[in-house]
Symmetry: D3
Subunit: 340 residues, 6 copies
């Protein structure tokens, strides 16, 4: 039986109602989210047994996180309880030319200050067939680098598949530091997920002739990036999400799956955004599911892109769509006709 | 003096706030709606005396329905009080590629289990000049089929105009059953309203060379459908709404009015949707008004399409726009400039 | 040190939640806004010392206005306290073909019934380098005309720059009355802001070959309008905002700055609207700031248009964006990518 | 058949959410209310045919009032449409030692500036058996005094019963003016409703040995007041509500009905308040119903007090309880046990 | 290891915001609740392994229930999926003399129409040490009577402790029917929970000299009731909750635990109510926990009463307090001093 | 001219809507609050020129704090901008036996990690006549102890009056540490405010024969405490708040002012609580105002107690009542009668 372990930070997400900015806010909607937890929820939602590993403070916020994850069928028994605080982030929802804005308040969080000894990876990985983490976790602290390193080494020993979403966060660490750390970690990675910015900032691999801000994409350039990652770091599969950000309200969305030295480009969706945060994670969650449960690379990338297309219409970081919803869209019905 | 009687079910509509799905909802916005009640509200709003006939339970939900309808000037004196429950439906508002989703909880509703003897159509139809119902009502139960049949027969006797919106609902009955029942009822119908799906599913009449999901329309195909309905069932007027569903956020909207063997196509509007549910009913309400109060078929169809275009920007099933609002749009001002 | 005095009315703005109409509303969101106060808030936000002058009733609504303005760093010490009521307006947010709708309840407001003797302009204008008002204020009452006239004369004496946004409001006065009053006042104006409707309705100057409703613009026509205003009334700078209102949800937005007999057209933005009201005022606030702090006319108009483009994505009349936000957009990044 | 006509002003009521003060409010809950309209709604709710007469502006606020009243079965066909504005009031809900606070914004309302000629009392009173108004209406303006006077005279001519709630409002007129006007009007009144403050301020009749602020009541004192009103002005029935205001959260509530020269004191309820505004009006509405439909004075006053006791637990000015709810409380069950 | 199985119905609970009545509601807060599920959540919350058994429809409402229960650590693997609808109930929150009101819409729910064959009690009860149900479940339908009977018999066979809360619901069945069914079932019950009304209505055992409505209690009367239940039906433990309902806002709350032929009365709490629904279930949940984990009967009843006292201050049916919270109150600190 | 400087931390306060607990919350209401800022707002509200000194992060949360304080007329020019985060706290509102609960997330806040060199007290105290701080600030960190020490020394040099609210917070430091630090600081304090717990925990002075939890007070015991503080530390004025916490919903509230070796006990209020947090601070703010502006000690303590009594009915930490509101209550009107 398949079992995925996701490791990383989960935070409180405080979001002003509507399109208000933080300085205008009188109420924040609270949900709980984080790059790896978002993936875990997607996997559990598609029926894959999934555990989330992190450290949470022993207070009502930590307790809230546990309640939410359990509700989504994510196993929480390996979450360490302790530390001082739950990381938080504030999200201002953007529109048109105004970008969404994330204000981090995640310093000194329990996981960022955790002791590597608190995580007994031999026990945690028992029964696991897949391990997933992201480039956000090692960006949090030296402790998190050490914990991640140990987890990755154990996976290697135990022959557990490893996926990693590069997810570069400029407010958490420098590109220099990111390059050093992630370059080391890439040796353990079987499936690497990145967008064009990550590849450049973290691995120094640039998609030529592409201008992200202008919303132009260059297929062969991305293919070259994927090939270079795959060859340089020995990961058999590389997925690159291709976001064309026309505005904060309208995006193009597709992806490239590079596996066994071949490229598979997905269909492209033009999306009117409801909530874009967690979109990339929903791609990863759906991709991991599809890599396990779907036959062909083309089907895999189409599932992942369709699933994450739908997530952009869902409030909150977590994707909430069913396999059937995804398959309907893959089958070509994006007409939005009322279902009744 | 004109007086319209609308017969059917009115339900509670429970809608999660914003774009949330039911599984995410902490609050539902409650309104009251139903295909025939939506038409009744539109008619009363345009100044036509209108009564709504149904059965409502003797509890606070039934009382709420009465209060709402009266507030909209719809006469409620022929609504039967009794039965076990008010039908409800849950509406998840879609966006972009994610469709809006209706979850019915209308089984065992008071009207669906009503006894035909509870409705004294001779009395109810006194003074009425028009009767309107839809294909939803007979889909509810055998009792509703019997009640509808009796009403239609009485209308024939009394020479009351009859309009019927085919409105096929696949979760309520099969196409086979629908065909049998509606084919029988069509003999009583003077004005038939349908969309391309209804015509095919209910009457077996297909618009050739049309691909709804792809959003393509074929004018001559629709004309043929309207003509066939008119000729086959002897209804002098057929209206077909032409929705091009590009996505759950953006639709094209126009209509064909076929009357006296001539076709009148309306202008087409590109609509950014606020609330699409009730859009078709708002077309019917405006069309019936226009058939009574406007001179030319072209003006009639333009009024109906402009009125229902505006409804798509209104929250809730009921249209809330004035005749003046509709005329402003008909006159070409869809610029959305602030009125002050 | 620069100091701007803005004179006019500030009202309570009562806005149904979401896209509801007033007849559907159960709750109104309350903010405080007005043409000149909106400009004052923008200026203070960009770091310009700014005072707002008006008259407010001695009740909790007046007190609320003071609290809000102070929070935005606008000086309020010259606001007169007294009178009977705070003007209010109700705003229905439009979408697609349905326009936003403003319902005024501003008659008999404190400022509209103020006595000119209550405003000691010699004292108020002490230290001021700029005076701003709009064509809304004299439209309120004869008293407001008198107060404005005296302020303008004092500015002339004191060599204080004067800007005026024509801002024609058809529900407040006739074009005839507006023409008489504003024509008189234009002699005092150094910087005149208008849109194509204002120029025609207030000054009788028509942009030829332009059809606003159809969303077509004609650059040379607007240039001619600006030139005519400048020459006829001797104002050295004229700014014309160019709104292409495709619908209540989507607008094109750009502007022309005509100064020293030269025209500078800005870049045009295609905006998906969140809250359009106050958009023009945010242009004026940013323009006045830019006229004071930016070197070239092209930069000035680009700053003003980018700032007000962003305002259309902000809830409420007041712009809330920083100089840095504006500069990011001016530099070409309107991609809406999440900032984190 | 009985038919009551209620005449007066109905306003928008804007209430900050929870216990917030106006200066803290970001949202106002809007309902529509007024002394006489509140009575009309109660009467209609108890099944008495009731019409409300007033003047409303021809805008969406006026339209909202009509919709609400119709929903409550109040007839609105004699409401005059026109004038400049709908009166509004802001309500801060108090608690414990902090009183609820009403901020009026009702000057220049349509009804206060109405022309007496707009009301054709012969037509309005056709079929009426009862007329109700309050001391608030003549306090609004000279026009309202004239309109009320004419209505009262017509009632006298037509032998229609007249009830009047003295309802003194110190922010609307002086006690001197109130005395002059109300003393004149008392000759037409059959049923006079007052509290101890009204009797003193309006009619100069003082309940001896009573200290309202301290929450002490003196039965014989109130009896004397009622007798004096009855004898002096010839009204056969006088009702005095006896509120013991211990705090804004807790009140004692009872009443005295004086009729045919006899006194009937009701049971006293200790009420934990939810919404106290409209409490007195709910007493009047229930009393008028009971005077018409219940046999004994004791039963009449008990019904009125029990009904209005319940209203203090209902949000909004309008009472929403059924006759059965009232009778349950009259029968002694104020235990608040869950009904299921 | 202890494991409790709770069997019954869980419904959607739709509650108007604040103190609004259903006819006033524009929004319902939705939670999920039911007598046995409430007990299950309490038990899981105190650390007892607990499973809930029922039948839920295969739609988003059923899915929501599963998500919620899992979040509270209640095992859901034996819930049957299928049937037509989720039962719902509407709750109007009362205050002062106005009672809270429950409007059921639970007819035809999945569990009420379930087939006994769908529940394989041998498998479900594997590992279970305790079984809990209530008198609500057999009131739903003959099928539910059959399912409950089978479960009870299996418990007898397997020597599993059985607790039952009589919970008479007059809107679900008659006292006659209740007596017949519950009298049969009592033979299987080890721990019987009742209030004075249940004992009388279901078992015909009356607490003498007690007047519930008047809020008077008679200790020896209740002791006699408990003794009679225990002796007549052979259940070793009987718990009787003693609610003194002074009003919908203020209750006295205590209990009697009768076990091994001795009576233990708890301390009495005077409670200012926040949400009274689920209060009795929170008593049962805490009692079952205490019967398993606390030594003395006095401690057991004190724990159950203190825990349920706190629940009356918690929004929603589910108790949310920790063992430590309960112990703090048991230790005498009900002062409500801020904890920080 | 009087000018007060308040020094301490201001935090974001995140409060679940209604009586929800954090684990139930979907929305938090956000306000900004802190012991010394609450005092500053009260002082500014009563017309005293007041500055607040702290350190705030350079992000939107810090910006929000500035906006709020300015709106309340508190001067913010000496607030240092920098550091990593704004302290936050979560507040669960209690009721009846369930206490309100504060969950701190204030570690690593900007002020707690500030460098003493960032505060130039010579400049900050220019023009100041009074300095206020609390025992919370030095509890935050060694840096805060150093900053406070320096401020206090400078006040001594400059002959600025110093007030200090002992405000012991057990989650921030130990009683041992508190005793050492506060004992040192007491030498600088002229006006000491405490409750019985503070005096004991911080200064080791115990009110004999008093049982707080039981809600019993002992006047002579408190007088002895005040005398001892005054004599031991040489502060001429000591104020002790006397809270009788019957429950989280109902408190008794009074105070003792000990000055010039005489005791003045205030009237006692029985308060039904709306929001208890900030109640003590509102007492301090009103007391400082009264010490400056009211003549007699009795009047001073009555003002402070009446003002803070009213605060317990106000949502949020900040008091919002006017001097007139306080005086009305002082004059004996706590009847809560509607003001209109």
């Amino acid at each position: 039986m398949k079992k995925v372990i996701c490791f990383g930070e989960i935070m409180g997400r405080l979001c002003p109602v509507g399109y208000k900015k933080v300085v205008q806010a009188t109420h924040f909607e609270v949900t709980y989210a984080g790059g790896e937890a978002n993936v875990a929820v997607s996997l559990a939602n598609y029926g894959i047994r999934t555990g989330f590993v992190s450290k949470l403070p022993d207070n009502d916020l930590g307790k809230s996180v546990l309640r939410v994850l359990k509700g989504y069928d994510v196993e929480t028994s390996d979450i360490v309880i302790g530390g001082e605080r739950l990381g938080m982030y504030y999200l201002e929802k953007g529109a048109s030319q105004r970008p969404s804005k994330v204000i981090y308040d995640r310093m000194y969080s329990a996981i960022s200050m955790a002791n590597p000894k608190e995580f007994d990876w031999d026990r945690i990985l028992e029964g696991a067939t897949w391990f997933h983490t992201t480039g956000i976790t090692p960006a949090l602290s030296e402790q998190c680098i050490a914990i991640t390193r140990e987890a990755l080494k154990k996976c290697k020993e135990k022959n557990i598949s490893v996926s990693c979403d590069l997810n570069y966060r400029k407010n958490l660490w420098s590109t220099e530091k990111a390059k050093v750390v992630m370059t080391e970690f890439m040796q353990y990675v079987d499936v690497c997920i990145a967008n064009e910015e990550d590849a450049e900032k973290v691995l120094g691999i640039v998609a030529k002739n592409t201008n992200v801000t202008a919303g132009e994409l260059n297929k062969s350039g991305y293919e070259a990036v994927a090939r270079e990652i795959s060859e340089k770091y020995g990961c058999h599969t590389v997925a690159i999400t291709l976001r064309e950000s026309y505005s904060a309200s309208l995006n193009g969305w597709s992806a490239l799956l590079y596996t066994d030295q071949k490229s598979y480009f997905s269909k492209k969706y033009e999306i009117q955004l409801v909530d874009r945060v967690g979109g990339g994670d929903s791609f990863v969650g759906a991709l991991l599911y599809a890599l396990m449960e779907r036959e062909t690379p083309q089907e895999q990338v189409e599932f992942a892109v369709a699933a994450s297309c739908l997530k952009h219409t869902i409030e909150g970081d977590f994707n909430q769509v069913s396999i059937k919803d995804v398959e309907t869209l893959m089958a070509g019905d994006g007409s939005g006709r009322v279902q009744r």
